[in-house]
Amino acid sequence: MLKIKNLEAGYGKLRVLKRISMHIDTGEIVTIIGANGAGKTTLLYTIAGMIKATAGEISLYNQNIIRTNPESIVAAGCSLVPEGRQMFSTLSVKENLVLGGYVQRKQKVDQKEELQKIYDIFPVLKEREDQLAGTLSGGEQQMLAMGRALMAHPKLIMMDEPSTGLAPLIVKDIFAIINRLRDAGNTVLLVEQNAKAALAIADRGYVLETGKIILQGPAEDLLNNQDVQRAYLGRDVSTEGAQCELD
């Protein structure tokens, strides 16, 4: 559904993304893993239209969206769940969700029904419906951010570091929800520093390093790749043998 060819983007003179080519098929979870500053967020922002690409093609359902403004990209079915949740903390949970459905305002949708769908996925948001978003816990805020993105009926949900700042147990919940979203027919592009967790639920992955895709393939293969293990999974293969001997 999404095809990117030779995408380049950056800030001022700084060239951050260098000839990125990648694709996402319908119903997949695709993850982009990479270290800090590799260009992961820049890539998501460029797809979302918030950073203008300097070269290349992005096509969503065979429609070139490289010069499209962010709101039209959301309307075309591509929503972003930003890093750090970025909710309107002085508005209630419900108001945050309603704002997420803003692009749907011209369609005759039953807002109650729409909200109920989100509450079915995240029951805790129903309980907190009238609470101010700023008073939610980290995990709840992440759920709200995901719920808000879902209100726009996206075909593709892009998530930027959903595990940031969350306790390990909550991270597990969040990833379980991402898995459920895919099972319900959604397509997910997941950007993560937590490479192990991301690769565990993803179908395919891309490894981004200094703005270049240096490896790509089935998630399982990336988990087995020694370079990925050394660089992103925290396993030092070279010392493991030595440790065994010491044991």
Partner: protein
Amino acid sequence: MYWEKDKECMAREDLEQLQLERLQSTLYRVATHVPFYRKKFKELNIDPDGFGFLSELKTLPFTTKQDLRNNYPYGLFAVPLRDVVRVHASSGTTGQATVVGYTQNDIKTWSNLVARVLTATGVGKDDVVQIAFGYGLFTGGFGLHYGSECIGASVIPISSGNTKRQIQIMQDFKTTTLICTPSYALLMADMMIENDININALSLRYGLFGGEPWSEQMREEIKKKLNIIATDNYGLSEVMGPGVAGECQECNGLHINEDHFLFEVISPESLEPVGPGEVGELVITTLTKEAFPVIRYRTRDLAHIIDEPCPCGRTFKRMSRVIGRTDDMLIIRGVNVYPTQIESVLFDIKGTEPHYQIVVEREGHLDKATVMVEVVESIFFDQMKKQRQLVDHIKKRLATELGISVDVKLVEEKSLERFEGKATRVIDKRKL
């Protein structure tokens, strides 16, 4: 039957996207990890980060067998040796051996691609596969072994040689699928016929043959003698081993596993791409190999690409059978001659056997080629006249096919040397 239908039948546009992605990351990896490529790219002023279109492939440098030899043994590996789980080497029949390596993921990919080739022939988990390719440094045995296990077939890793035992096991173990070189399959067939073994009583249904060039007539001969579906498959250790391409049941060209290999066909003289459908040297770029990626490897195999839809539904382009090698291509009095051309003529002539040898010598300044042909016994007992007629007939047919006249010598059945692996058809006595 498909092994990975979503890949084997993927839309051209999706395939090209995937190829570009994989090629870009392959280029990054070879430029970062393989000094040979880093140096070559620098010399040619190629920015591996700047590669954006599959059509730019032809700007990249070739890799030759000599490059592999110069970097013997591990020079072209793109991963440290501790990530390598397997090393294979070419036989070295044409010079110093060349070494290739595989990571765990490479072995997995390899198994999967061979599984595709086996499935395309019709082999499934109920089959009993007799692998009469050599195991060891040669990739043939292991590659087909992994693929067969991958689809769940029962594998008999008998390896090559000991024809009598091969035939015994084929009967006793109820082999359904025979995997070897085509010439060895014929040798087995002949031995069975000679020993009055009822071939129809065998369980044999499929044969996957490769490792040497063979002709359509040879396929017919195998089909007739062994009563099986016989398909061709293609691979070379420098690129991966078997599993690079294989025929489906249409038996009309070998589907290239294009999501893992990029094929080009070039003229071996000008090194420029040949026109669509023209015969030339196959040049292969690997897209997913981790341990031993190669960029534009010159295979020295001659074939052409068939870019037409196949009734089997696979969207991968097909390559024709390999019609020869740039290095076994004989130039006799200025004319290019492929041994397989001679083979196909002989197959058509009654009274001759599929065993032959071509001896090329130089008399004065002129090349002289003699084709030694085995003929059935009855002809030797017959009158000279009949022998002479046969020689003349073969000569005439060869002259029409090859465009040059060659001598023909009839020899007794089984007087030519037999080969259990690759047959040596050409004896070139000329000093160049």
